[in-house]
Amino acid sequence: MNFASQILQYLLSGLSTGAIYSLIGLGFAIIFNSTGIINFAQGEFVMLGGMLTYFFLSVVKVPFAAAMLLAVITSTATGVIFERLAIRPLKQPTHLNLVIITIGGSIFIRGLAMIVWGKDTHTIPTFYGSAPITLEGATILPQHLWIFGITFLVIIINKLFFFYSISGKAMRACAYNRNAASLVGIDVKRMVLFSFAISSSMGAIAGMIAAPLTMTSYDVGIMLGLKGFCAAIIGGMSGGIGTVLGGMILGVLESMGAGLISSGYKDAIAFIILLLILFVRPQGLFRKAETERV
C-alpha cells in the first residue's frame, strides 16, 4: 500500500467514525439548545443502542430489523424516563446540580447495563454484506457505507422535523427564547421531554450503526459520549451542519493521528483538540458562518 492510498484509507475510516461522532454531537446540541443542559448521560444512550441491539438479536432472538427498532424504542424510552425522574423534579436546577445529576444518571445506566449484560464485549453482525470494496488501494466495508447512509438520512429527517413540523418549530422557538415561547402557548416542559427523546434515539442509532465495526460493551458510552461532545464544541453547539462538520474533522484528525503518530494517544488527540478549542474559540470553529441553533 503506497502513501497516498494509506492517507485515503485513514480519511475514509476517519469520516465514518466522524459520522458517528456527529450523530452523538447532534444529540448533545439538541438538548443543550432547548434546555441549556449538557447531558453527560448522552454517551450511555449510544451504549444502549449497541447493547440492546445485541440483546434483542442474540438473546431474545428477533429478526435483525425488529431488534434495531426495539433497541431504538427502548433507548428512547430510557431517555424519556430519565428526564421525567431525574431532570424535571429537580428543585434547584443550577449548572452544578445538572452536571452532577446527569453524571449520576450516566453511572447508574452504565452500572445497570453491566449488571444485566456483564462485562463482556459483544458484537453484532454487519447490516448487509461483508465483502470489502477496494477503492484506489484503500479498502472500505459495506458497513461504512451503511454508516454514511444512515447518518445522512438521520440528519435530513432531523432538518425536516425542525423546519417543517409544528413540534420542531416549537422546539426552535424554545431554543431562541424560552420565556417568549411559553408566552405564545408553547408547552416548554413538553419540548424539553421531546429533546431528550430525540437525542436519546439519535444516540442509540449512532451506537447501533457503529457496533458491527467497533464491538460494544457496557462501558463504550464514556468515550463515545465525550467525543460526541467534542464534535458539538467544534461546531459551536449548533444543531445543524456545524456539529456534523465538527464530528468529521474530529474523526479524520483522530484517524490520521492514530495512523501516522501513535495509536496509543488516539483518544488524547480528541481531548487536546477539545481543550484548544475551549481555550481559543469557545464559540466553535464556524460560529459566524454556519451556526444556527436548533
Binding site: 443543550f32 443542559i37 449538557i38 453527560f40 431525574a86 423534579p89 429537580l90 428543585k91 434547584q92 449548572h95 452544578l96 446540580n97 445538572l98 452536571v99 452532577i100 445529576i101 453524571i103 449520576g104 444518571g105 450516566s106 453511572i107 447508574f108 445506566i109 452504565r110 452500572g111 445497570l112 453491566m114 449488571i115 464514556i222 465525550l226 461532545f229 464544541i233 501513535s262 496509543g264 494517544y265 483518544d267 488524547a268 481531548f271 487536546i272 477539545l274 481543550l275 475551549l278 481555550f279 469557545p282
Partner: protein
C-alpha cells in the same frame, strides 16, 4: 457563621477523636481503611475548596492526585531520591502546572469548565498509561519506598495512619481558617455571583486560579502520601471514575462544609467495604446516591439530616399533641 473560637473547639475535638481512634480499631484491616479515609478526606476537602466555596467544578481532580503520586513515585523508585524531597518537588511541579492551566481553564463556566477539566483528567490518565518507559504503564509502578525519619520507617498501617492524618488535620485547619477569612468570603461571593463579586472589588479571575492551585497542591500532597503508603501505584487509581468519586464525596458531605467532606469521604470509603458482598453493585449505588442527594438533599448530609429532622420533629410533636 460560627465564631473562630467555636471552630477551634470543633477542630480540637475532631483532632482528639482522630488521635484516639486507633485504640478502638487496632484490628489490622480496618486501620488500613482508616488510612484511606484520611487520604480521601484530604482530597475531598481540597476539591470542596474549589467546588463548594468558589463554585467551580473540576471533573479532573484525580489527575492532580495522580501527578503527585507518579512524580514522587518515579523519582524515589527509579532515581532514588528521598521521599521527603520528592514530596516538595511533586507538589511544587503540580501546583505550577495547575497555576498555568488555571488561567485559560477557569475562564470557562459551568458545563464547559466541567468538560475541560474532564478532558484534562483524561489526557493525564492516557499519559500515565502510554509513557511506559517512565511510569511502567498500565501494569503499575512498584518498589516505591515508605517514608522514614532516620531509622524509623512508616511501614505499618498504624504508623501511616498518624502520618497521613497529621497532614489531613493540617489541611482541615487551613481550610477552616481560609473559609472564615476575607478570601473565604470573597470565594463565596464568586460562588453566588461572579459579576457581583467583581463589582465589589474582588479580583475573581485571579482568586479562582489561586484556589484552583491550592486545591491541586493539596491533592498532589495526598498523591505523594498515597504512593509511599501503598508502595505501588497504577493508572487505574487516577482515572475518570475516581474524579467522579471525589465529586460524590463532596456532594454527599455537603458543598462548602469542611467536616462534611470528612463524612462524605468516610462514607464513600467505607461503603464499598460493606457493598463488597454485592460485588459490582457499588457503581450502581454511586450513581443512585448522586441523583438522590442532588434531588432531596442538595446541602449534603451534614446540613440535610438536621433539616429533615427539623421538618419531621414538629410534625411528630403535633401528632403527639393531638393524641394527648
Amino acid at each position: 457563621m460560627p465564631s473562630m473560637k467555636k471552630e477551634l473547639l470543633t477542630f480540637f475535638l475532631f483532632a482528639m477523636a482522630v488521635v484516639i481512634a486507633p485504640l478502638f480499631f487496632s484490628g489490622g484491616y480496618l486501620m488500613n481503611v482508616l488510612v484511606f479515609v484520611g487520604i480521601n478526606t484530604m482530597l475531598a476537602v481540597a476539591l470542596n475548596l474549589l467546588l463548594g466555596f468558589a463554585g467551580q467544578i473540576s471533573l479532573g481532580h484525580a489527575a492532580f492526585f495522580g501527578l503527585g503520586a507518579y512524580i514522587s513515585g518515579v523519582l524515589t523508585a527509579t532515581c532514588g531520591y528521598s521521599p521527603w524531597l520528592t514530596l516538595i518537588i511533586a507538589s511544587t511541579a503540580t501546583s505550577v502546572l495547575a497555576f498555568v492551566l488555571g488561567f485559560p481553564i477557569l475562564k470557562l463556566k459551568g458545563h464547559y469548565l466541567a468538560m475541560a477539566t474532564l478532558g484534562f483528567g483524561i489526557i493525564v490518565y492516557i499519559a500515565f498509561n502510554e509513557t511506559v518507559d517512565i511510569t511502567a504503564g498500565p501494569s503499575g509502578l512498584t518498589g516505591i519506598p515508605n517514608y522514614s525519619i532516620g531509622s524509623f520507617q512508616f511501614d505499618s498501617d498504624t504508623k501511616n495512619y498518624y502520618l497521613i492524618w497529621a497532614f489531613t488535620l493540617v489541611t482541615i485547619l487551613l481550610s477552616v481558617n481560609l473559609a472564615n477569612s476575607r478570601i473565604g468570603r470573597a470565594l463565596r461571593a464568586i460562588h453566588d455571583s461572579e459579576t457581583a463579586a467583581r463589582v465589589m472589588g474582588v479580583n475573581a479571575g485571579f482568586l479562582k486560579v489561586q484556589i484552583f492551585t491550592l486545591s491541586a497542591l493539596i491533592s498532589s500532597v495526598a498523591g505523594c502520601l498515597y504512593a509511599h503508603t501503598m508502595t505501588f501505584i497504577s493508572p487505574a487509581s487516577f482515572g475518570f471514575n475516581f474524579s467522579i468519586e471525589l465529586v460524590t464525596m463532596v456532594v454527599v458531605g455537603g458543598l462548602g462544609s469542611i467536616y462534611g467532606s470528612f463524612f462524605g469521604a468516610a462514607l464513600l470509603t467505607l461503603l464499598p467495604e460493606f457493598l463488597r458482598t454485592f460485588q459490582d453493585f457499588d457503581i450502581l449505588v454511586y450513581g443512585l446516591i448522586l441523583i438522590l442527594m442532588i434531588m432531596f438533599m442538595p446541602g449534603g448530609i451534614v446540613r440535610g439530616i438536621p433539616e429533615i429532622a427539623g421538618a419531621l420533629l414538629p410534625a411528630f410533636k403535633r401528632t403527639r399533641g393531638e393524641n394527648a
